[in-house]
Symmetry: D2
Subunit: 367 residues, 4 copies
Amino acid sequence: MAGSSFGKLFKITTCGESHGGAVGVIIDGCPAGLDISEIEIQQELDRRKPGQSHLTTSRNEQDSIHILSGVFEGKTTGTPILLLSYNADMRPEDYETLKKVYRPSHADYTYQIKYGRRDYRGSGRASARETLARVAAGAIAKKYLKTKLNIEILSYVEQVGSIFSEIDYKTVRAEAIESNIIRCPDLNAAEKMMSFIEEIRNNGDSIGGVIKCVIRHVPAGLGEPVFDKLAADLGKAMLSINAVKGFEIGSGFKGATMRGSEHNDPFVIEEGNLKIKTNHAGGTLGGISTGEDIYFRVAFKPVSTISQIQHTVSLAHDPMLLEATGRHDPCVLPRAVPIVDAMSALVIMDHFLRHNAFFARPLKNNG
Amino acid sequence: MAGSSFGKLFKITTCGESHGGAVGVIIDGCPAGLDISEIEIQQELDRRKPGQSHLTTSRNEQDSIHILSGVFEGKTTGTPILLLSYNADMRPEDYETLKKVYRPSHADYTYQIKYGRRDYRGSGRASARETLARVAAGAIAKKYLKTKLNIEILSYVEQVGSIFSEIDYKTVRAEAIESNIIRCPDLNAAEKMMSFIEEIRNNGDSIGGVIKCVIRHVPAGLGEPVFDKLAADLGKAMLSINAVKGFEIGSGFKGATMRGSEHNDPFVIEEGNLKIKTNHAGGTLGGISTGEDIYFRVAFKPVSTISQIQHTVSLAHDPMLLEATGRHDPCVLPRAVPIVDAMSALVIMDHFLRHNAFFARPLKNNG
Amino acid sequence: MAGSSFGKLFKITTCGESHGGAVGVIIDGCPAGLDISEIEIQQELDRRKPGQSHLTTSRNEQDSIHILSGVFEGKTTGTPILLLSYNADMRPEDYETLKKVYRPSHADYTYQIKYGRRDYRGSGRASARETLARVAAGAIAKKYLKTKLNIEILSYVEQVGSIFSEIDYKTVRAEAIESNIIRCPDLNAAEKMMSFIEEIRNNGDSIGGVIKCVIRHVPAGLGEPVFDKLAADLGKAMLSINAVKGFEIGSGFKGATMRGSEHNDPFVIEEGNLKIKTNHAGGTLGGISTGEDIYFRVAFKPVSTISQIQHTVSLAHDPMLLEATGRHDPCVLPRAVPIVDAMSALVIMDHFLRHNAFFARPLKNNG
Amino acid sequence: MAGSSFGKLFKITTCGESHGGAVGVIIDGCPAGLDISEIEIQQELDRRKPGQSHLTTSRNEQDSIHILSGVFEGKTTGTPILLLSYNADMRPEDYETLKKVYRPSHADYTYQIKYGRRDYRGSGRASARETLARVAAGAIAKKYLKTKLNIEILSYVEQVGSIFSEIDYKTVRAEAIESNIIRCPDLNAAEKMMSFIEEIRNNGDSIGGVIKCVIRHVPAGLGEPVFDKLAADLGKAMLSINAVKGFEIGSGFKGATMRGSEHNDPFVIEEGNLKIKTNHAGGTLGGISTGEDIYFRVAFKPVSTISQIQHTVSLAHDPMLLEATGRHDPCVLPRAVPIVDAMSALVIMDHFLRHNAFFARPLKNNG
């Protein structure tokens, strides 16, 4: 109720501030018998960790994950799984400035107003370090979906500023995404994005972008009608990520300009299987998966921490100048890719279990 | 868990198919002592009802609302409120075609696959008639927010196809929205939208659009960090509405193209009060309301029911031609305005109660 | 959150006051494809209705049930089921006394304190009429459990005042329970209970008692460890019924006086099947069903409405005398039997779906 | 949904097996601004820890608690609190026997059947060590209730086998409870209990008993009607504790033998205050607190681990003899007292927040 849980059956509860003792997550509702190891989870975490390249921040963040419960002899037992990453690097002297200022477009002010106090070290609970817990939990969901149901989740950077990838989502492969530090499968666009981000960094500025996600081989029938539509839960998942300002599925905002006669997706029979052409719907109808690819786009605003001097206000409501110190990410998109992956995996996993509850029968893929 | 509940403290559970006995909603969690009458709820319902003008469908739908529990002597008692609208007009002979076909971009196929059966009369549970229950419940939330907290929610049609309203959301007034059948406060744009929709209707086609919503006077501090961010819950609420394909808050997708130095919203002191300039954030930071206007946009695809002949597939997987009969809405946007209002009210109301829970107020002992 | 929902996957939400428009329930989470009719539900309701014999109250209560959604062509569709029973017999003049008094051991005072107002007609939301909604929803769960899983639920009156049934729960049959108006399968005890209740009635008094419930053929493996233990959820279900003051499962309070060497239930192999002797556990270990009979006892206090004159206090805190008018139940136990049945069915059904969620495999009975 | 969460607003999620990495709990929903330290929590934990006297087991269990998030500068921040106690003493060689046997009245069998595997070290997730997490979380709730609302929770051993405390719950003081190792405020009875437990231990046996709990100064008005009655939630909380077989509130099972005329609690005015005499209700009416003392009894069966040889069955379904090694608790009651305290605190705290939610308090707008 206080906002740190996600999912209903595959339910995660995260905890931890950027500079407290640890960041962690309890997963309550993971089916028993899944092979899982710290190494596999670490691989996903390494994709979001700072300092992977000169384009991302190189703060010395501790990302090592520990499994403290719920796994025995290499397999999940069906009981709650605690994943923990200890924080390091707590130097109190760094926080004197943060204590007294409301940084523009950060959550300092709203936390202070809501709770009457805040952990001002780093960004406290509002820090992007919280997403470490999501990626760790998502790694387990992703593994389950891949090994038990052959569901594949691929997120990638489609847009940085006004530079776009031209690759069709239907043809994107994991290797192409991981082939460059931008995590953009269109190498041409990736090059341009890299130079542009370099320029942004040199200006002490930051830049936004869009991540696209495609989810393949989701069986038809997942998702609950009315309020817990699959698209609604995916949207909520994405909009809960720091810096996300928009979500669109299938035709999205472009669909608003279309006519029914061009937007409607015809049903056809291909090689004996029912298929849905065009898929403007983006893989769901009435909130329920169709068996076609689910695809959507997630808009990220530029990160709020920049190196330029900014006008702002102190805790005491005095106008002041803020000068950021230390390094920051000019573009968070490449590191956000595994977060979008993780949140997608959590939503699909939760809906798989929810669907399962009401049926004792196997689910079939579309084709 | 099966998807028909929304909200955690101001919790609604809806029920009903388009052609079953009734459409209804139970609200569990409405504070005691609120004045409420069937007439007030009916006023909101009348804004979504079919047949308000020649631009919307004129099916003879029954929209009369009945309060069957939870209100006594004109005031809410704190116990569950049941609101019900009986269905009429059930002519079995109309449904023989619907029984055997998967209509393009409708939920016939996914319901059939999920449940192994479906109520094929109208669109059954997937019918837009379900939104009647949302608007009825939302009317109570809206009343509470307005009378107790002075919170104002204004939704309006900002875009139909590629025709845009040019009015700044900051200046929009309720009277301007209700001044025309499109519910677009820019009368110039409204005229163009009307002619365009008329043309669409004459072609037996349909058209999408965008609804904008602004929420004023929300106190700073509402919303839960991490997963239940205000923006995430608003996004889910909107994406749970039939035909919605996109949601963006504040700068939205445009924010993806911006630099931090232009996107960051400066804190300032104005007449002794802390204010936030530019408000690209759209009224929330870190998931929590800032006290500035909350504003967002919701993209609707064109409605799936059109009068043109379409290729599709039967329940038996045979290709067939579908010819729609009866009247339909060429553009659902004007009738969707009160639904966006209602869902917004439900989200804000729920977060108000959630916030309330954690802030102590003295209780008195017996003696 | 406001207390009118029960269950997580087979989730019911009830509404209605004793003298408002209707009492009803929405079931969200009933699997699709179950045959169900108003007649079957009515049969369970008729077991709890007043006026079945001269031992129970003969108020002219309306108990007819209507299915208003979620059932199509005689089968559940998987969407929410609304069951409704309209109230009748609202004579405002009867309530003037009730308006101003706090009746001893009723909820008048606590509702007034909590909400600042109350529906004083009858007992409003605190009326036992609310249990009609539970029995109606329970009838559907009971039907599902019986037809799909062969699970049998039998509740009966084991004790009235200090008169006990001597029948072993293992041998009780439904026919014996329904063979007499007390719903006590020990006919000898039933006779004594009847005369005793007659005497209580003649004194204008009321009397408490105990209902026993046995649930047969529950597969091993249902129930969630730690907080949502099967026994804990059964206990909560029973303690949520009006007038219930105690719950014990298996050895119960007697177990507190036993030694481990006599209480421990040995595992044995019988005809190739694992069985558990003695079953002091009452059918669960570690919160999870063992496959043996689940059995428990539920203590009901005497009903608070009596015909004798009582000292009490008015709304204005003045001492006053209360004289009950009209008829009342001297012993509520026989009518409470179907409520215990219903709540048991709701708990088992919910845990069946919860278990189902995490496993895609069939469940086996113990023997 | 998988059972490891408790509470809705003051929500705890526990994790950990007896011999995994750690036992822990996340509290999501603790109000900001409460002073809390590891030392205070440790004090409650020390009351449940093994080896406090020669009457309880002296296994070398690690009970040190660590606060890893949600507390900053000595105060809660409103964000999730992670409390962790690391396990020690994992000697794999000890578990070879446990791996292959179903111990009578333990959860070995049901976990194996439910999950298809189990952590057989100690009792894994079914171990009483899990209650450490409850006591840790409960310590925070207890502190809040005491300091902010003056609510006092006192549990004590009222019965061991057939030896009863004769002290009236109304007069019990914390010092009397803690004055002896049995935690029985009647020193006479405590002496007898001690000798009896010594005898039980010498026989290699175990014994059950009853814990009584009284909660003082709960304001009138807490608790939700219908399903989430205060008594129902207290009952569930207690029945979720290992080895609990029964719960009764107020008159309890004795109430079943009483007449309405003797059971009804009269309202009276004393020194200008409304009071409720006799309090057979046990402090709640209609599920809502009356402002009088809440009191209830909790029945514990004898612990299942005994030193006598027992007949049982192996994992391979072969009959076998089980000989317990190591030390065990002959009577768990004294150590269970802080667990009953903790669960009570969690229920009252949760209902306090829930009540709080629905009662409006002014919020301030930004300007």
